[in-house]
Symmetry: C2
Subunit: 332 residues, 2 copies
């Protein structure tokens, strides 16, 4: 085991590209500045998802702009010159903070979460946006909004970002051209991905929530775990629709959900055309290993075939047979 780990870590400084030279970006999902070293150790190219929630948990009131700035600045400085993608507050649902409006929701996963909560609290939201903007003066930073369901929400969030910029000008430096993205994790966002692509600079698919909502299966409900199927044809078609809509609009498509960190899924995610996969840092070497042994042509073949099955079981057994036939030695 230790030998395998050592072998994998040797991949650290090799480029994340397919056997025939197609480059994609492999990054890490983190919550704490201490995890930046794990990204570096495993050869990650930056932070694809920095979750800001930890700053907000278990306290009576939200952290102010200055406290948030200190936290974001530490992350950006630790990761520089590599980029950091910061997600605005994603609470509600299973992630609780103290808020009277969030208590007693009958279905918290379908409740006042994430961007819905931020848009209801514009003062607090702008404090977070200003803190992120200020951190963007210290290294490459992108920001993105979770749980977007429509164009109107994105426009509201972007308008508040413009207000936050105006409030900072002349007082604090920040990246005027900061890239703005959204998470694609609600079925509506998949259906109107073409409309949303016109509003932002990148998409990042949150596969965990996307699967949950697309299948109407609570991913924490143990009675339904057999129905929570990442390879359900509706999920695979949705992934493809999102990446195609992004590329038609000339923007990037990332994945930051658990699917990104599963090396078995790498061939079809590569073949579908994703530009960036962000995952638990420890998963990066295994994913990179498969990536470096796969040609884009065979990845495309697998991806094209994966969206033809009527059931997850068929897709799963096809994928397993392809992995066995083409990449078995890469899964040592």
């Amino acid at each position: 085991y230790e030998y395998v780990e050592r072998e994998l870590l040797k991949l650290k400084d090799l480029p994340a590209q397919s056997l025939d030279g197609h480059r994609i970006h492999l990054k890490g999902n983190i919550e704490f500045v201490e995890e930046v070293s794990a990204i570096n150790k495993h050869g990650g190219e930056g932070i694809g998802l920095y979750r800001t929630e930890m700053l907000f948990f278990n306290r009576a009131s939200f952290p102010d702009e200055e406290e948030q700035y200190q936290a974001y600045a530490a992350i950006v400085q630790a990761m520089a010159p590599r980029p950091v993608t910061i997600r605005t507050l994603d609470v509600g649902g299973d992630k609780c903070v103290t808020d009277p409006c969030l208590t007693d929701e009958m279905n918290p996963a379908l409740g006042v979460r994430a961007i819905r909560l931020s848009l209801r609290q514009p003062k607090a939201f702008k404090a977070q946006l200003r803190a992120i903007l200020r951190a963007s003066a210290l290294g490459p930073v992108q920001l993105f909004f979770p749980m977007v369901s429509g164009v109107a929400e994105v426009r509201q969030a972007k308008a508040l970002l413009e207000e936050a910029k105006a409030e900072l000008r002349g007082k604090h430096p920040f990246d005027e051209a900061i890239q703005v993205g959204i998470m694609i994790e609600i079925p509506a966002a998949v259906v109107i991905a073409d409309l949303l692509a016109a509003e932002v600079d990148f998409f990042s698919i949150g596969t965990n929530d996307l699967i949950q909502y697309t299948l109407a299966i609570d991913r924490t409900n143990e009675h339904l775990s057999s129905l929570y199927e990442p390879l359900h044809p509706a999920v695979l078609r949705s992934l493809k629709q999102v990446v195609d809509a992004a590329h038609r609009a000339g923007i990037k498509a990332h994945i930051c959900g658990e699917m990104a960190g599963d090396p078995e899924y790498l061939p079809f995610l590569l073949g579908m055309g994703f530009d960036e996969l962000s995952m638990n840092p420890v998963s990066i070497p295994r994913v990179k290993k498969i990536l470096r042994r796969c040609t884009m042509a065979e990845a495309k073949q697998v991806a094209d075939r994966m969206v033809t099955f009527a059931t997850a079981a068929e897709a799963d057994s096809y994928l397993k047979s392809e992995i066995a036939a083409r990449f078995s030695e890469s899964f040592d």
Copy 2:
């Protein structure tokens, strides 16, 4: 008001067709046999959704086959010769029955509901299927399954239906060719409507749940009512995708959610090509009135335009202006 009601009831015996003769079916959603008279009084052409849940509520154990048969037989005989579409048990979520597996779900709307519950209790499910089959000897009956998320579930449910038929043969008469449908109310079912259409005889869209899941908005959460948008572009595109998939496969597309009973929505639902709308019986005359004043050409024009907007607000204001321009006198 009474005068308006009397005028509307005069429509009772006129056919449900557009000004230029395109026929669709207007039916009623009911829970009790007593409501059959309301369907007749308002000119409904049968029952598009008979909810069997009431039989199952507030009791220690499920009703047996015989008790269910008596209830279904009464409905079918009261409605004959007009057809009755019976939905198998749709509980869980906000509709509670006594079942240990359903208690303490964190997100009941994403939990063990409807067909998921039925497939876990094949004995009880087959008792319901046998009761429905036996009622099909007494008048035209169709049956359909709620909360379908994939092809595998439909195949399992149909296999149990075949078992139920085998158990009845030689003992009780039933309609061997009973039509079998599914509700389309989970986003996955929209995405794979083409695959599901190959498995069944008709689709019935449950717009309330479809909106809820597509937008990830609990429809009972008062804090989110402004985000629960029937005219969200993702909802309108989903409706169109389902009806198109049904017709390409040569099967019928119905709507039995609340959208079917809103006369303002009639023009675009007609234009999209739906074959049947099932609603609260009292809504039938108002919907029929608009239907009879609308040509298919103008309905198609409205439907085509409705799917072009980026936001629900734009679709809503377009629809209101069309209604004002073309049908205002029909909304007296």
